[in-house]
Every structure is written in C-alpha cells, then in structure tokens.
Subunit: 151 residues, 4 copies
C-alpha cells in the first residue's frame, strides 16, 4: 500500500485546515494511506479528510500514549521520542505534502529532502527551501506526491 505523508502546523485556521482536509480526502480517493504526526491542526484535518473518503490513517505520535492521537487516526504508533519521531514520519512516507508549518515541519522537510523523498509544498512558509516542489491546489499536491516512485 502506498503511503503519503502530510505534515504541517499543529494549529490551523480555516484556510489551511480546509486545504489539509481536502488533501487527506484526495489521498484516500487515490487509494493511498495517509501518515502524519497524529496530533492536531493540519495533522487532524488531513486525517479527517482521509477518513471521510474511506481511507486509512496512521499517526506517529511523539508521546507514549495512544490516546493522544486525534480522533481520525486508525493506527496510532506512540514512539515516546518527542520531536525525534519526525524522522519516522518521513521514513514512513514515500512522499510528503507540507501545509503551513513551523520549525517542526521544516525539520521534516529537510530530513525528507536529505533522504531523497519528494516534498510538495502547499501554502507553506518553507516553499523556498531548495528541493521543495510547490503546488497551488490540493489536487496538484496529491497528484505530484503520487507520481511513480523514484527508483
């Protein structure tokens, strides 16, 4: 099963949350699973969208309690690694879509690029990081994330 990561800010306003939810929905409609950090904001909105479209969601949590996952996570992986879990979100995904985001998201973008993963930026302040592919819409972001996997 293909797995696409959605990363971004843990508190989002109407616009970013709406984009994230739509991204989640499209990932599920395309038959891929969604992985995220399992908490709130963009992570929750994307997982919600995926569940609304009948998808499968995986949350890689910073803490060691499954109950900290948002309500739309099917499979919660409590790592107990704090922000150290970010590299596991990156390794779990074949490509990542970044929506909004602060320093935590930036660390994931950088790790993904360092390890040869595709990163699509959708309304993220980090879209100027060399290597990030920009997208203007959820459709474009998901399409670019699901291009045939690099060898």
């Amino acid at each position: 099963m293909r797995i696409i990561g959605v990363i971004g800010t843990s508190e989002c306003g109407a616009e970013l949350c709406g984009l994230a939810r739509e991204v989640g929905r499209l990932i599920a409609q395309r038959g891929a699973a969604l992985v995220c950090g399992g908490l709130g904001g963009v992570m929750e909105a994307a997982a919600r969208g995926a569940k609304e479209a009948g998808g499968l969601t995986l949350g890689i949590l910073p803490g060691d309690e499954r109950r900290e996952a948002n309500a739309y996570i099917d499979l919660a992986i409590p790592t107990g690694m704090g922000e150290g879990r970010n590299f596991l979100v990156v390794r779990s995904a074949e490509a990542l879509i970044a929506i909004g985001g602060g320093h935590g998201t930036l660390s994931e973008i950088a790790l993904a690029l360092k390890t040869g993963k595709r990163v699509i930026g959708l309304k993220t302040p980090w879209e100027d990081v060399p290597g990030v592919i920009t997208a203007q819409t959820p459709e474009e972001a998901v399409e670019k994330a699901l291009l045939p996997e690099q060898p």
Copy 2:
C-alpha cells in the same frame, strides 16, 4: 483500533509458523490490527494469517526500504534503526504474543514488561522470564492478549 504485536524468531519450522499463522488469523477475526517487525519467520506467518482473515497488518522494519517487508504487510514503516526498532514494535502494541524467538525477541519481551505491557508466551524459550504469561494454544494467547486494556 486495537493493535496486538506478534514477535518471534525470523526463521520458523512448521510448528512455530503454524502457530504464528493461527495467531494472526485470530487477531484479525477479533477485529484487531497486527503489528510485527515486518520480516520473515514468525513475523511473516502471523501477517499471512491476519491477511487470510481480512485483517490489517503493520510492519516496523529495521532497514530503510519498504521493499524489505514480507508480502503480507499492508503498512510498512521503514525505521532505519536496525534492532533499535524493537522498542517501536513494543510501543505500537497494547499487548504482545511471543512465539519462539532468540535474543531480539527477548529484548522486545523485556522492553514490553519494563513499560507495563502484557506479554503472552506461546512456545517461546523465554516463558520463564518473570512477568511473561504463558499460553498453550493460539486461542488462549489471543484471548489473553485482548483482555481489556490496563488503565
């Protein structure tokens, strides 16, 4: 979704593999997801059993390539942590069933007990480790693993 871990030797003969497959099947029939280390032997047999019963399987891999997962893993998490990934298998599961197993399995049993997780031993050489609950059959193992979760 509840998640039960199956841990054990990475090469198994007919008896242990048969037990692992039956354990996987029963976990799926009870509606739980199965998590394992994603490789061969007990991990593969258990995942195969779970898929045969329509279940969901998660493989937490030591390497950084999804393709190293066995054929019955729905969601592969490549950690790139080698044996260090064992604690993530433990943290992902609410209870673990150990079948056979060498030193790697022992490390998972010990980490699980240290962090307050239930460990059921089914034909494992480590059943004398204090804290391990023994089971004689796959049915008994899965039943004990799925007792209401500890608070």
Copy 3:
C-alpha cells in the same frame, strides 16, 4: 578511546552498589571510558567509581534534560526516548557488564547479544541467558570486558 558499558538496577543495596563502584574504578584505571544510562543505582555507583579513579563517564539519559543525570556523569546525552534509549547504551559500548538488574537491564543484555556485543554478568539475575559470560569479581568482569575487541 574504548568504551565499556555498565548496566543494572536503578536502586541498589550496599553489595551491588559496592561492586558497581569497583567496576567503574577498574574501567577507569584501565583507561577506558564508561557509558551507562545516567541515572541512579548501579549507573550512579559505577560512574562514581570511574570518577574517583580519574575516568571519563558518559550517561545516555531517557529524558530530555541533562539535569536528570547523576552527579558523576561528565557528558550527558539526553535522548528523550525513554526506555528506547537502551539500544543506544548498547551501541555505544564495545562490551557491557550487567550488575543486578530488572527488565530494563534484560532488554539491554538481549540487544547486546543480538548485535554481537560481549555481555559480562556479575551478580545479575540474568546470568543464565545464553550468551552471557559470568564473572565472580569486578576484576574478572572488567578483564573479560576489555579482552581485545572482536573483529
């Protein structure tokens, strides 16, 4: 610089603490650094012994605050990984000496053996784990730990 690990129970009585302190002292006298989990009990006694003999001590901590290290740790590595840090203690050492110890220590012994490291047991309840080399005295334990490194 060679690094020897000392693992064991986080609360120790006079006998085990005395052994740990002597082990730490001998490691330092032999010119090796000591690595441990950085907390109390055997970890603290061994680090104390090493410092009394002018040695160097490294503590790989479960939490994310350096201040949780015991008073005899020169270099504290806060991992924020909880018990997940045990595999880092193992990887840091070329050989490990286990003194006393519960399930956490057992997980370290098992990971060490799984990854081909020598484990010396000194008054540990886990000395019957296949692969553990027993020692009767701190001298014997340190001598066996410092045999020429395996290729």
Copy 4:
C-alpha cells in the same frame, strides 16, 4: 560539563573548514566539550580544532560502527539510525553552531529551534531561517553559543 554542537556540511573547502577548526579550538579553550555528527567536513575540522586545544569531542554517528568516526573523535556513539541520529546531536548540545550545510544541517537547525535550543549561524545558507542568530566570526559564534544557558 557544557556541550556545544557544531553542525555543517560533510565536505568543506578551505574557508569553511578553517572556520570550523577555529570554532572547535575556541570551544575547547572555553572548557566545553564539542558534539558533532562524527563524520567528515565541518564535523572533522571542528573536532580537530577542539583536540588541538586539548578539548573533548563526542561524535554521534549515523552508522553502527565506531570506526566510521573521524580521527579527532574521543567518544564515538554509533547509533545505527542514519539521518535519524540528527535529533540526538541536537539533544546532546545546549546550543549549536551551524557552518555551511545542506538539508541534513537544516534538519538539525529546525529541530534545535523547535526544542528551544539556541542556533548560531556562521556562513550557513540557512541563516535566514527565523530564529537563527548570525555570527560573523568564530569568536562571536562561540561567545553567543556559550551565553548562560536558558532556563
């Protein structure tokens, strides 16, 4: 013992390597230990500088073999976590100095800022990341890194 991290590109030309070596020297002269990723380029030059001034160096390696450390590392910690080890470099240091650097360095900068650590940028392409404190010289970088620790 205070620990300052030096992060940066794994291949450096004369200018960046010279800066890194001088930074390492100053860290050691100020009595702090140096932590880095243990490999080549900026990591090696900084460790070399620290050793030339009689300092102590710690290398947190991506692989699982101590021998991959550069020649100026006193204590090598092989993590076997690949790029996942970056968060351990960050957690080990109370402040970090970034010299040059690609995506791996950026991931460390971002994790450091996310977890409240000070990051000093010295000729790094990432000095515009919000939160990075710039320095023009090795002296200024080390001085800013060694300001009294934040509470």
